[in-house]
């Protein structure tokens, strides 16, 4: 079988040599220029967390894998549309979660009832610290919300979806998203008061 080339040659582009060190934004720029290695590196960096995060919103692993694929094909084709500012990870998430919404619209039965995600009490000190830093009492307030209300908060506030998209993700009409959001706000206000 063919061995790897006995001689190495200067890479045609800077990219090939320091792809590991390149920033996400630089990789995205190279991806826009058609550099496969750049996309591969972006995939290595961002596909794992994207897959896990999507998995928490959709119970069907096949559908999640498809959405991960869709997302990176979209990154390849649309790398040019990245504004150049802001976290690349957030940009990729924006693509990914909307692809998930689209995929669920085609296969609504696959939507996961977020209430089914098992809840576990806080245990480690780190987790308390994390909660304290990020949300403070908001964390426990969130955990006290009913699963339906929490799902709406997560979809709109944390995942950055519009009311309509959140409705599609959760399989409920957007009017219901709005009323649940109002109820969630009221509940949180009461809890944090």
């Amino acid at each position: 079988m063919p061995a790897s080339p006995a001689v190495s040659f200067p890479a045609a582009d800077l990219m090939e040599t320091d792809v590991d060190a390149a920033s996400d934004a630089a990789l995205l720029e190279a991806t826009a220029a058609g550099e496969r290695v750049a996309l591969e590196q972006l995939y290595a960096r961002h596909a794992p967390w994207l897959l896990l995060r999507l998995q928490r919103r959709c119970a069907d692993p096949a559908l999640v894998d498809e959405v991960v694929q869709d997302t990176f094909v979209a990154v390849w084709r649309g790398a040019r549309s990245y504004s150049g500012t802001g976290e690349v990870a957030a940009w990729i998430w924006g693509i990914g979660v909307r692809r998930l919404v689209d995929a669920l619209r085609r296969r609504p039965a696959a939507a996961l009832d977020l209430a089914a995600v098992p809840e576990v009490a806080l245990e480690s000190a780190e987790e308390r610290v994390l909660l304290g830093i990020e949300y403070g009492d908001l964390g426990s307030a969130l955990n006290h919300l009913s699963p339906e209300l929490r799902a709406v908060v997560q979809a709109t506030v944390l995942d950055g979806l519009t009311t309509r998209e959140a409705g599609r993700l959760l399989g409920i009409p957007s009017g219901t998203v709005k009323t649940r959001m109002m109820r969630a706000r009221a509940a949180l206000r009461q809890e944090l008061a």
Binding site: L52, D65, V73, E87, P118, V120, S124, E127, L130
Partner: protein
């Protein structure tokens, strides 16, 4: 946010529980928000993601990226029933390039505009419209217009099949555009159809000559002969209309039949397959 935020990192065990889907929603949400901004924690997360699934998804991504996205012409051809590979070959005809299409549209527009000014326009249209498809065929395949011509010659794919495939595409495009132009050229109620048989005769003649000449030469011969003859007639008679009368149509039909016989003969002796020129 606290200023210590950027120095904090999720530990491996927390991520492991996040990956397993057993974290409470609020903690999970904060992990997610943090991971979005922290490269180190993304790396930790990667250690807990299903590697096999990710590898499979990546190979699917490369397949989809490589898969050439079919253009409009190719998609239409496939809808017409061509196989994926044939549609691809046909759509790659150099004559499908924007430059050629733009030139075609420009010529037809010129005829339409000129027709509004007086007598010259309708005559001009009837002179040019039959020749346009042949010119397209001449550009569709051959040593100078198709960069991959030489590689294609050495490949097993039938050269005559490729030529005819591309001719069909050229005909479809020119007939639609010229037909549309014919509709709006004033003074020719039958302008839409009268040029059709001469056009088909010229294209068939070009294909027949292409067995022995490069298609571009063949198109020059047929198109040049047509233009010279018709323009000369126009000069002497003041109108080209009689050419498109019954006698002219029958003559065009005869040319078509003769060319068809010549093509059949050329195929039998593999004239399209063995080239003495390049």
């Amino acid at each position: 946010m606290s200023s210590t935020f950027s120095e904090w990192h999720a530990d491996d065990r927390l991520i492991e529980r996040y990956a397993a889907g057993v974290l409470d929603p609020a903690t999970a949400a904060s992990v997610e928000a943090h991971v979005l901004r922290c490269r180190a924690c993304r790396t930790t997360v990667a250690g807990h993601a299903p590697a096999a699934r990710l590898a499979l998804a990546w190979s699917a991504v490369t397949e989809r990226i490589d898969d050439p996205s079919p253009g409009l012409v190719e998609r239409s051809l496939r809808r017409l029933g061509l196989t994926e590979s044939d549609a691809r070959l046909a759509a790659c005809a150099p004559a499908m390039r924007l430059a050629w299409l733009a030139a075609l549209v420009a010529v037809l527009l010129f005829c339409v505009v000129a027709a509004a000014q007086g007598d010259v326009g309708p005559n001009l249209f009837m002179v040019l419209a039959p020749a346009l498809p042949s010119i397209g065929v001449g550009l569709a395949y051959g040593p100078w217009t198709d960069g991959t011509y030489e590689v294609g010659r050495a490949a097993p794919y039938s050269a005559v099949r490729l030529l005819f495939l591309r001719t069909a595409v050229v005909l479809a495009v020119t007939f639609v555009l010229s037909g549309a132009a014919g509709l709006v050229v004033p003074g020719h109620r039958n302008g839409v159809v009268l040029w059709l048989i001469p056009a088909i005769a010229l294209v068939t003649g070009t294909l027949a000559l292409s067995a022995w000449l490069p298609p571009a030469w063949a198109a020059s011969v047929t198109g040049g002969t047509w233009l010279a003859a018709v323009v000369a007639y126009w000069k002497s008679q003041g109108s080209v209309d009689p050419i498109f009368g019954p006698a002219g149509q029958v003559a065009a039909g005869v040319v078509f039949l003769v060319a068809c016989l010549a093509i059949d003969r050329a195929r039998r002796v593999h004239a399209y397959d063995v080239r003495r020129f390049l």
